[in-house]
């Protein structure tokens, strides 16, 4: 990390603390900014994270960004144009780089008396639970769940020629190159991306204890896209139930074309069909809270089908299963403790000389604490124990991190 980047991060943290102190001194509440008589609201979430070096790339979201060394600024806005239509958007900057439009969509509510909405544009994730609360003030710890952050060695635009080539890339998903498709190095994909939203149409309805959502989008859950790269659409659905207060149980499904047309052409030639090279994902999640504790569980199974051109071929779907259990307990007002235990495993792949999981399985235990300096200024510390079963990188890493979060 360059001196400039470190300086920028420290400066950001100081600005953050100073701003928060100023807010505190003025006694201003932590409220969103309301404009035009409340028709436009603007909120924000700023976090600065400083953590241990991560040579094993356990927490990287791509080659340059680690979730444990990140300054993230989110600014979200909602504009209401009457009872039937709202425009919502969010811009984000990581490490003070360029601003990216993370979300931008219109929300249509055809009948004001019914819990039924249509959302069009760059829409929030339909699949899973964590994707919609991947904000620093919603996450009791600092690290992200493996399913949403850990970069596997799969790429949608570049393909291994054989099973052997894929096995050689175990643990190298943060920067991987393959012999078929796009020639350069780039990152792989997580099971479900928490760092980009997909583009399409989403329908949501609720009745009683149930709510459901379905969406058709350009990308897949692991590779959300603004513009499609394979002319295939993803269908995603989610059913959620709230049978008793405090309990939320959800099930999700998504299926869409994963591999880009260009990569398929490189592998199989012009005119080769692309329909079968998909990502299919199933998810189950539950949250229960009462009194001072909160427990969350989420499990995601993803299966990718990719073409290969040489033996040993990859005939079976490449599966990955992630399981995460997270808990939070409030010890005293303003102070909590939290922990997450999770595992990310991969299906076996038969190579020329060995049969191994197609990527190196990872286990992570993270414990942490958070202290509210004031209502909207949170200081977090966490400790991670990461283990990786295989691959060429460091297999065990113990990491510490601190994070300051300010939101309004």
């Amino acid at each position: 990390m360059s001196v400039r980047v470190v300086t920028l991060r420290l400066a950001s943290m100081l600005v953050l603390v100073a701003s928060a102190a100023a807010v505190h001194a003025q006694g201003l509440p932590s409220e969103p900014i309301a404009l035009a008589g409340g028709r436009v609201t603007v909120g924000g979430d700023v976090s600065a994270t400083v953590g241990s070096p991560d040579p094993g790339f356990f927490n990287y979201t791509d080659y340059e960004h680690s979730a444990l060394r990140l300054v993230r600024i989110d600014v979200a806005a909602a504009a209401k144009a009457g009872p039937h239509f709202s425009l919502l958007g969010e811009v984000r900057s990581e490490n003070l780089d360029t601003l990216e439009a993370y979300a931008l969509y219109g929300r249509i509510r055809p009948w004001t008396g019914r819990d039924f909405d249509i959302q069009v544009g760059r829409i929030p994730p339909t699949f899973g639970a964590f994707g919609r609360r991947a904000y620093a003030n919603d996450n009791p710890l600092i690290g992200y769940p493996l399913a949403y952050q850990y970069i596997t060695s799969l790429r949608p635009d570049a393909l291994p020629a054989s099973a052997d080539e894929l096995l050689q890339k175990r643990s190298l998903g943060w920067l991987v190159r393959y012999s078929v498709g796009a020639p350069g190095v780039d990152r792989g994909v997580p099971l479900v991306s928490a760092f980009r939203w997909d583009t399409g149409v989403q329908v949501h309805a609720g009745a009683g204890i149930f709510s459901a959502a379905a969406a058709v989008t350009a990308g897949t859950v692991s590779n959300p896209r603004f513009s499609d790269d394979n002319s295939g659409r993803q269908f995603a659905g989610r059913l959620e139930a709230r049978p008793v207060p405090g309990l939320i149980a959800g099930a999700s499904f998504a299926r869409g074309r994963f591999v880009s047309d260009a990569a398929v052409r490189s592998a199989l030639g012009d005119g080769a069909p692309n329909e079968e090279f998909t990502q299919t994902a199933w998810g189950a999640d539950a949250e229960y809270s009462h009194g001072y504790y909160l427990v969350r569980f989420e499990s995601i199974l993803s299966a990718w089908r990719v073409p290969t051109i040489r033996t040993p071929t990859i005939d079976e779907p490449l599966r990955a299963l992630s399981t995460s259990l997270e808990g939070r307990y409030k010890i005293v007002p303003g102070l909590y403790a939290a922990a997450r235990v999770e595992h990310l495993g991969f299906s076996d792949l038969v190579g020329s000389t060995s049969t191994l999981p197609w990527d190196a399985p990872v286990t992570r235990v993270e414990v942490g604490t958070g202290y509210s300096i004031q209502r909207n200024l949170l200081l977090k510390f966490s400790y991670q124990h990461n283990t990786r079963d295989g691959g060429v990188l460091q297999r065990v890493e113990n990491l510490g991190a601190g994070q300051l979060v300010f939101w309004f």
Partner: protein, 237 residues
């Protein structure tokens, strides 16, 4: 003629120095004199608080991650103010009511939005919504977290230190309220027209302050007459 306590003590002291019958006669005459002084009658401070600044509602944070529009909710009554004596009569601090008050959680709103109580008061926070709420405060006079609880349940907290307590819900960030805790009983919350009246104020000179949503006026001087009423209006910008 009214005698101060010091004057009465001085007179009593002098009378102790005279012996025998003189002492007895003097004592009888003193008691007769004291009993003939009419007791001071409490008065009232009343008036109106005009909040002149625009009081926008606390909006929800932009629900960009929501799969649909959020349900409608009630809005806070942020125009109400509290009027209180800057310094209270000495005897006010002998009062220890230890009463109860209620701040409901209804349709994602604290009701009332502004509560004024005395130290020693226990406030109940019932949940009248169908979903969880989590009342908490990080204010210095009362730092508490009541945890998550469902509809039909209530939890309470006793306020023993005077000051301003900001109350929030940990689940619904747009929910907020104020509890002003006083160590004396001389305060009042304005009604929907901004009117207030502080009853049972002993006659005397006082400074009076009006407070609304974190903004306090300068103290205004007022003289409460014996058994009468003092009028005092405020304009908060």
């Amino acid at each position: 003629m009214n005698l101060t306590r010091t004057q009465r003590e001085q007179r009593t002291q002098r009378e102790r120095t005279v012996p025998g019958l003189t002492l007895l006669l003097s004592f009888v005459s003193f008691v007769t004199f004291v009993s003939s002084v009419p007791a001071a009658r409490n008065g009232v401070i009343r008036g109106r608080v005009e909040v002149r600044r625009v009081m926008p509602q606390v909006e929800r944070r932009p629900g960009v991650t929501d799969l649909g529009a959020p349900p409608s909710r009630d809005v806070d009554d942020r125009m109400r103010s509290v009027v209180y004596l800057e310094s209270a009569p000495r005897r006010a601090f002998e009062v220890d009511e230890g009463g109860r008050a209620v701040m409901d959680q209804r349709n994602e709103t604290f009701v009332p939005h502004l509560l004024a109580i005395m130290t020693g008061t226990t406030v109940d926070f019932p949940n009248s919504d169908k979903f969880y709420h989590n009342v908490f405060s990080l204010s210095k006079p009362a730092r508490f977290d009541l945890g998550r609880y469902s509809a039909g349940h209530s939890r309470s907290i006793r306020f023993d230190r005077p000051g301003i307590v900001r109350v929030f819900c940990d689940i619904h960030s747009h929910m907020s309220a104020f509890i002003l805790v006083f160590s004396h009983p001389y305060f009042a919350v304005t009604d929907s027209q901004g009117r207030y009246h502080i009853d049972n104020v002993p006659p005397g000179n006082y400074g009076v302050i009006a407070w609304n949503e974190g903004n306090a006026s300068e103290a205004k001087a007022v003289v409460v007459p014996d058994g009468g009423a003092a009028e005092l209006d405020f304009a908060l910008r």
